[in-house]
Amino acid sequence: MTSPVVGSSLVALSGVGRRYGEDPPFDALRDVDLRVEVGEWLSIAGPSGSGKTTLLNILGCLDRQTSGSYVFDGVDVASLDDGQRAGLRSREMGFVFQSFHLLAHRTVLENVMIAEIYRNSSADGRDRRAQEALAKVGLEHRSEFLPTRLSGGERQRAAIARALMGSPQVLLCDEPTGNLDTATTAALLDLLEGLNASGLTIVLITHDRDVAARASRQARILDGVLMETP
């Protein structure tokens, strides 16, 4: 991996588009320019179908843009093959999903530890690192529970702990509060705020304006067009 150019952004999208199908083609994203600096908390708000999940998938290297360029930490992602992109996801990115995606038959601790297995890192201290990640989200007392016994807010905290394993550069959150009630949402946003304050870059997409408003920087997306909100 090449070293990042000094002064460059962590995420730099220029002219990114994503077109689905051929006849007729559908543009989920049109000519998106976006820069995210290290330590920022960016929220992208938009109604469903506006292309925000597509944008997050491209940011997370889960999907490929059909036009434009995406440079992550100084590396042109388009030049990477599937295996290298998987490695990039594993080392540099943490994902938080609306539906948590916890493995139902594994304990919270195992669910957190799983984040490391596709890295070629040693298993030594993995248990301790997972406990530390759980401590960061305030869930260390639930480590031996099965996810089915946790509340919605606790499940999402467990998912965040998993995303924090291995100290990613950026946390990509896809509607993290979509399945949570108001009080739990507030607590979760407090947690994200704390993580951001400690230096973690966060990109969060949501359809909820109140959630979006908690971010330090905000953008809106509509019909695949991204607009910066001052």
């Binding site: 998938n57 997370g60 889960l62 999907d63 599937d82 295996g83 998987a86 490695g87 996801r89 594993s90 080392r91 994902f95 999903f97 539906s99 995606h101 493995l103 139902a104 038959h105 594994r106 195992e110 799983i114 984040a115 297995i117 596709y118 890295r119 070629n120 040693s122 298993a123 998993r162």
Partner: protein
Amino acid sequence: MRVRDLGGEVVAGLFARPGRTLLTVLGTVIGLTALVATLGLSRTAGNQIVGRFDELAATEVVVTARPPGLNAQATNIPWDAPQRLARLRGVVAVGNVSTVDVGNSLVSTSPVADPQRQTDLKLAVKAASPELFDAIRAALRSGRLFDRGHSARREAVAVLGPNAASRLGITSVSQLPAIAVGDELFLVIGILDGVARQHDLLSAVLIPEGTAQRLFRLNAPEVVVVETRIGATRLIAQQAPLALRPDNPTGLRVTSPPEPQRVRDAVQSDLYLLFLMLGGVSLLVGAIGIANVTLVSVMERTGEIGLRRAIGATRYHIAFQFLLESSAMGLVGGIFGASLGTLVVVGVSAFQSWTPVMDPAGPLAAPVIGGLIGLVAGAYPALRAARMEPVEALRAGT
């Protein structure tokens, strides 16, 4: 990805639904149990039959004069064949036996025809050298056997096989019973209890060779029965014709009785094939079961596949995990199948008081076969899982 981590994920995947995994494995277990048990039992039974027949079959050589061809003279066996062969190393006992041509003469116990019951029987009359009784391991029930003296003096004495004796109504020699062969009278001096070889002698009347020469013009022995030491049959079979007829050894036919093992094998192989086919069908069903359950599992775990891709798994990691899960199911089925099959062989052997005999290749190959079946069965589901796009998988699964 480290091997230990992959192993951990596979084990966790299998134990997520242990009941389903066990039921899935059952098909492979049944199939491989049937295969291992069939192989083991046929081997055990085969060994049992060989064991029973071996000792007699492996020590017997029979020399016969070839029947005269169209333009060839019959090669006669010399009268002193027992003495000639007894000198050979490896021979335990040897004796002559010949069928005596008595024409249409019948054997009876009374010279007077009794209208009330059948007294005249058609019985085989055989001329034997005194050494024959050792060679066929004859056991005596009553009286005595004739010896060289009887033959030299050409005395009219007879020893009866047990079946012949009971048909003639003779149970003991204490009354000095006599029988008539045609017009010739014989004193019955002994009754046999059983023979280990030449079972047709059980229903025959045995007379000394000398007597047969005098009364029925027997001109040469017909058969020489040799009992050898174990392992000496091949050697004796080569040497006997030379010892008997050095001038024309090829005129004699030397046989060891056909090994009964082969006949049994042919009978067994049908049943054996049936069970092997049964095992094969169960294996096929087991493989389909594994494929089916793995496919269902892939569909159920779409969200998990998406998550694993998001946290850095490649397509190969996903394919590998499902392949290993299905192979592990096959492997476990193979281990259980090998154990159960071996237990079946041991159990049946214990019940039949047999010695269980197994080729270790059977139980050792079973887990390998099971693993391969699992691997093949998991190939398609694993391919499906690997082909999933992470975005689609994350959206579809919860």
